[in-house]
């Protein structure tokens, strides 16, 4: 019988499509290979599997929440629609000229990424709005019609409209949309004042172009998905995860598909935020490490940190500036090229370098025995005893340590005069150091001290490296939740309905206009709330207010959260006090004598977070029975130690394992360093803390 309790989370990733079904009787999950030609096929297949496991039929599902990398992949692989841009005369090349800089200073043969649309697909109209939002050159309808004629002749399927200062005055963009709708009703239209009403033309134009570029593809996919699910008997609403960590309706998703970019990783952050809520943790570092990349995100007060702009499709070693900027609300994450498949080599300074090049799944690391000759992080993990060669991926892949050693010898050891173990140690230390550095820089940028944080680790390779990462970062507590292999899909089921509306309007505190602020924030709240209401007709909707402020003259705004009373009864003193508070937190001091300005206004409308039952945390009570021991390299000590091996599935609440230990499960292995011990908590999480398990409460022999 159809029940609101039966909820399905679906995450289409690059390799696997993860499906999680939650019912009254529990959680059921599966992984199926992503079917690129028709991604909905994998979903149907996976859905049937989990329904069968749960003993329900597709018709019993009450809600489906879906996230996908399809939007991201379409941008990376340039598989979008035939798209045109209409822009202001004099600014045809904004998306091509970028920031006029080189993201790598020391490469004479640097090639800049091509813009999504080549120059002949970018058209201009004579018009101009100034920085106060006033029209300086009115747009003539005939001029638009002339361009629309060209667009019609060329047969474009989708059109992006991006005009200078349109975030202040959208009249001309709307007029172009009207003309297009009249003359070419079948062409999809995206306008920048709706898709991303933010100052900075390069980011805004690129965002609207990206939206237009993937719109027909995503609309068609979502339509197909809906009807296929219907054919299978599904009779419930489908929602989409967006990059900001909430869910929106399928119609909003089809209108603003660019908001779906990075929805998978956003689900992972929501998953970690939910674990944080269970444990009542206010400062959490989420660490997701897979085959090719690692993602790091700060979660404060059980809410992932968000940002207004990010970069997709980086073309050059994940280097900042080598991709394209997308300005939409997004969970703020650092992604670096560090995963189990990341390849290691020695550079001309005799330094070991790891990543971002990856062995992928074919041929994979040398230890897969599929012809991979270069050492990957997984090879180092194997040589250091962190992985059991006979029990990798639930025993489905036999690992070959000898080939790992050969690869490490040939590519690292020979040059540096190290044996395979020392080379493996070096590779593991460098990849852990790279991730630690990324986390440190991210924390500093946010004025945070990681020693106060708890790490939540998920993704296939994370549990192998998280312990060492905590040592490097001075993080004392590490939690490895169950179901970490399908974390994003579980996260989808925990996400609220939400929509964030942003707008750029400059205001100096010396020209503080409270009436304008009330009107602006009121409009943004109505807009954001409207989107959420289409998803959920009954729940209360909360509005979260945020403004971005800086000293006049600075180029970097900092986000300032406001309470509803602070936002809706605005006064300059409160705004200044809040700004100075946050500025001091980030940079240690304020600057006397400078005017302060507000640049961006934002309202996030969201349904309230679900009540999360707190876990009653248990102490270490009973020492878990080890199945045996094996030699595992302890990086902090720089030597092998005799580690207990335990099976995660055998542990009961309160069972503990003193490090050094290796805790095995089907999907991965948790490495517990000598400095720490692990306790199994009642919700199945493995809770790893520094020190020695308290022997007085511990009893022997479980």
């Amino acid at each position: 019988m159809k029940s609101a309790q039966n909820r399905l989370g679906v995450d289409i990733g690059g390799t696997f499509t993860d499906i999680v079904l939650e019912t009254d009787s529990g959680q059921f999950s599966t992984k199926v290979l992503t079917t690129y030609a028709g991604p909905e096929n994998a979903i149907i297949d996976g859905m049937k599997q989990v329904c069968e496991k749960a003993g329900i039929s597709p018709g019993d599902i009450g809600q489906i929440i879906h996230g996908t990398t399809l939007a991201t992949n379409a941008l990376i692989e340039r598989r979008g629609a035939k798209t045109a841009l209409i822009t202001t005369e004099g600014f045809r090349d904004v998306i091509e000229m970028r920031t006029e800089s080189r993201f790598e200073q020391y490469d004479l043969n640097l090639v800049l990424p091509e813009p999504l649309l080549p120059r002949q697909m970018r058209f201009t109209v004579p018009e101009r709005v100034n920085a106060r939002g006033e029209i300086m050159i009115p747009l003539a309808r005939e001029a638009v019609e002339a361009v629309v004629d060209q667009i019609a002749e060329a047969g474009f399927e989708s059109v992006a409209v991006g005009l200078i200062h349109s975030y202040l005055n959208p009249a001309h963009e709307r007029m172009i949309r009207e003309v297009l709708a009249e003359r070419l009703p079948d062409v999809a239209v995206s306008i920048s004042s709706e898709v991303s009403p933010q100052m900075r033309e390069y980011e805004r134009f690129n965002t609207v172009v990206a939206n237009a570029y993937i719109k027909p593809l995503m609309a068609s996919y979502l339509g197909r998905l809906e009807s296929r699910l219907h054919d299978e008997g599904v009779d419930c609403r489908i929602f989409l995860m967006h990059s900001g960590g909430g869910i929106i309706s399928i119609q909003n998703a089809a209108d603003f598909p660019v908001r779906l970019v990075e929805s998978g990783p956003a689900g992972g952050a929501v998953f970690a935020a939910h674990i944080a809520a269970r444990y009542g943790l206010d400062k959490v570092l989420s660490f997701d490490m897979g085959g090719t990349t690692a993602k790091i995100c700060l979660i404060k007060d059980q809410t992932p940190k968000t940002s207004r702009v990010f970069e997709v499709a980086r073309t050059y070693r994940f280097k900042k500036g080598s991709g394209m900027p997308i300005s939409i609300p997004v969970i703020d994450m650092v992604e670096i090229g560090a995963g189990g498949g990341s390849l290691a080599h020695v550079d001309s300074m005799r330094q070991i370098r790891v990543g971002p090049e990856s062995a992928g799944s074919e041929p994979g690391p040398a230890c897969y025995g599929r012809g991979g000759a270069r050492p990957a992080v997984t090879d180092a993990d194997l040589v250091l005893g962190k992985l059991d060669p006979d029990n990798f991926a639930g025993g489905s892949i036999q690992l070959h340590a000898a080939q790992s050693r050969d690869a490490l010898d040939a590519h690292i050891g020979k040059t540096l005069e190290m044996d395979a173990v020392e080379a493996a140690f070096g590779v593991a230390e460098m990849v852990d150091e790279n991730m630690a550095n990324a986390a440190r820089v991210h924390a500093v940028e946010n004025g945070e001290d990681l020693s106060e944080y708890t790490m939540i680790a998920f993704g296939g390779a994370a549990p192998l490296h998280a312990g060492r990462l905590c040592e490097k970062l001075g993080v004392e507590r590490l939690i490895v939740p169950p179901g970490a292999g399908v974390g994003s899909a579980i996260g989808f089921l925990r996400a609220p309905f939400s929509f964030e509306a942003n707008r750029s309007v400059y205001m100096r505190l010396s020209d503080f206009d409270d009436a304008l602020i009330r009107e602006l924030l009121g409009e943004l709240r109505d807009e954001a709330t409207g989107f959420v209401r289409t998803c959920d007709e009954v729940s209360p909707i909360l509005a979260e207010f945020k403004v971005y402020m800086r000293y006049s003259g600075q180029g970097w705004e900092i986000p300032i959260e406001l309470t509803e009373p602070q936002a809706m009864n605005p006064d300059a003193d409160t705004f200044l006090a809040r700004f100075e508070e946050e500025y001091t937190k980030l940079f240690g001091r304020t600057v006397a004598g400078m005017d302060v300005e507000i640049t961006v206004w934002s309202v996030n409308a969201t349904t309230p977070p679900e009540d999360v039952a707190r876990v009653t945390v248990t102490d270490a009570k009973v020492a878990a029975k080890a199945q045996g021991t094996r030699d595992v390299f302890d990086s902090a000590a720089g030597r092998f130690t005799k580690a207990n091996v335990v099976e995660r599935a055998d542990l009961m609440d309160g069972h503990f394992v003193q490090g050094p230990a290796a805790m095995t499960e089907d999907e991965t292995t948790i490495i517990i360093p000598s400095s720490r011990f692990a306790i199994r908590q009642p919700d199945g999480c493995i809770d790893i803390v520094t020190g020695v398990a308290n022997a007085t409460t511990a009893q022997k022999g479980a």
Partner: protein, 569 residues
């Protein structure tokens, strides 16, 4: 097992130091007030050992500051004296000859103490908005007119900021709050680096950096020397001529590859200019070194040992070795041409590596707006200074086209025009690529760009032009054609000069076309498909396709038809 730990940990620590200085630079980008730092990345940050040898430098930053700041710390040690260095000290200078080339760069150095012992230094440099004097421009006749000079001295001693210095600075500059804000930002960024260094030393139980420094410098030296040893040991000369201010300037350089070093000798280069486009040697060296390093050892990070083998010589009071009190405010103009001159020589030593000439110096201009004076100005009219950074095209590479409207050799970024228009009552009417400006060739020069600038109703303005390549466009290489020259005029046709402060009356616009990069190789040998793509995109006109590349009328028509049908060519 001890050695196993320490060998790997040296690798880890080197990696960590690179991350530390990157954090230091990012902190500066986020707290600085100067447009040039926060939007354009005109800054530098690094960590040094107790002898003042640079160990690591942030990749964020621009090459001009690299070598210059690398040498600066040694000057601070000499001037301040080790016995006068205390915990909590911060040192400062804007000395063009001991800092990074002009008064507009403030360099700050902080000694790093661990357990009461000096273990190293952090330094950072930022280009600030205003330092008083005549304002940023080439119009001064000596450095005395270019602004306030701060000799190497203490900004803070044992944590106490020198308030006398602060008051003198405040009294001498146009935007005192911003400048003081920037000085604190520089001090803060060093402090962030220091804290992270101490954390690292605690983690690895170090009492000094000596062994780490040796490890870094030895590996860098060896790697750099291997690269140099692989080159033919010979000399070659390069030269080029650029506009200068009133008289053309000749840059001449002889590059000699020795077994273990490369010397760039600028004998034969023009003498000092009357205006502030002269270049202190330290800045010339920075760009000469950049040119050679990017050509032969791009992957080796900048530090004392990797920079040391690149030596420079230039007679005193040539334009590339200007001595005090020559005016040097716009030293970047000559500095940015140094790589093209060095490439010109290097191409004769190792052919097929370096690009043809490009736009060279950044196409920067500053607009000083004020209420109109020829008629009553509206009440909202105000004074404002707006500085913009823009780029022409880079030179064609042996295997790739030049980059369109992209800074080279400088590493700075442009600002969004929407941000520029919020900074003052200025209007940017046009900023887009300039077709046909890239020199034709087997590989094509990068396109320059058009810009048009005016003021909001009720304002008039002065434009401080800092352009070059008006009379001396980028020269083609191996049969490639020249790039297009810089042009500048008012929209009614009134001619303007490529350099200097010039008045623009109410209602007028300045129409500028920035230079393209030069082509490389015979245009007729260019791949047909690439010519068609260039034509379809409008990088080249139909006339150029026919004249320079030999495309037939039929072929041109086919491309044009395809474009109107929306086909990708």
């Amino acid at each position: 097992m001890e050695t196993r730990q320490s060998r790997v940990s040296f690798q880890v620590m080197w990696n960590r130091l690179v991350s530390v200085v990157e954090e230091q630079a990012q902190a500066l980008v986020r707290t600085a007030f100067s447009t040039s730092v926060r939007e354009a990345g005109d800054l530098s940050a690094g960590v040094y050992d107790t002898q003042g040898r640079m160990l690591a430098q942030a990749v964020t930053g621009t090459p001009g500051h690299v070598n210059a700041m690398a040498d600066a710390v040694a000057h601070f040690i000499r001037r301040i004296g080790r016995q006068n260095m205390f915990e909590g000290d911060v040192y400062i200078t804007n000395d063009p000859w001991e800092g990074t080339g002009h008064l507009h760069d403030i360099t700050m150095v902080t000694p790093s103490f661990h357990n009461g012992v000096l273990v190293g230094f952090f330094a950072c440099t930022a280009h600030i908005v205003d330092i008083g004097g005549r304002g940023f421009g080439a119009d001064a006749a000596s450095v005395y007119e270019e602004g306030l000079y701060i000799p190497i001295m203490k900004f803070a001693e044992r944590g106490e900021v020198d308030e006398t210095l602060v008051r003198i600075v405040r009294g001498n500059v146009r935007e005192p709050d911003q400048l003081i804000g920037d000085m604190y930002a520089l001090a803060t960024c060093n402090e962030i680096g220091h804290r992270r260094l101490i954390e690292m030393m605690t983690e690895f139980n170090l009492s000094d950096l000596d062994e780490v420094a040796e490890f870094i410098l030895e590996n860098s030296r060896r790697a750099t020397l291997e690269k140099i040893a692989a080159l033919p040991q010979m000399s070659a000369e390069g030269e080029m001529t650029v506009d200068g201010f009133d008289v053309p300037i000749r840059l001449k350089v002889k590059v000699t590859v020795h077994e273990d070093r490369i010397v760039s000798d600028f004998t034969g280069t023009s003498g000092l200019d009357k205006k502030g486009i002269n270049c202190p040697l330290v800045y010339t060296k920075a760009y000469a070194c950049y040119a050679l390093k990017v050509a032969i050892a791009p992957e080796i990070p900048n530090n004392h040992a990797s920079l040391a083998p690149f030596e420079i010589a230039a007679p005193e009071n040539t334009i590339v070795n200007a001595l005090h009190p020559a005016p040097v405010a716009l030293r970047h103009i000559i500095g940015h041409f140094v790589p093209d001159a060095v490439f010109n020589a290097f191409d004769k030593i190792v052919p097929g590596v370096v690009p043809a000439e490009g736009a060279g110096c950044l196409c920067n201009f500053q607009v000083s707006l004020r209420p109109r004076r020829d008629a009553p100005a509206p009440a909202h009219a105000r004074r404002s200074e707006v500085l913009t950074f823009n780029s022409g095209g880079s030179g064609a590479r042996p295997e790739f086209d030049g980059l369109n409207a992209t800074a080279f050799p400088s590493g700075v970024m442009t600002m969004p025009i929407e941000a520029t228009e919020h900074a003052g009552p200025v209007i940017i009417w046009r900023k887009e690529l300039r077709p046909d400006s890239g020199g034709a060739g087997r590989t094509r020069g990068g396109l320059g760009q058009y810009m048009e600038v005016g003021a909001m109703e009720g304002h008039e303005f002065d434009i401080q032009a800092m352009f070059d390549r008006g009379a001396h466009p980028a020269r083609g290489s191996r049969g490639g054609l020249d790039g297009a020259p810089t042009t500048i005029a008012q929209d009614d046709g009134t001619p303007m000069r490529v350099k200097g402060k010039q008045f623009v009356p109410h209602g007028r616009k300045v129409v500028m076309a920035f230079p393209g990069g030069a082509g490389y190789g015979d245009p007729k040998a260019r791949d047909k498909a690439m010519i068609r793509t260039d034509l379809a995109r409008g990088y080249i006109s139909a006339e150029s396709a026919m004249r320079d590349y030999g495309l037939s009328e039929t072929e041109i028509k086919a491309v044009q038809d395809a474009v109107s049908k929306g086909e990708i060519v």
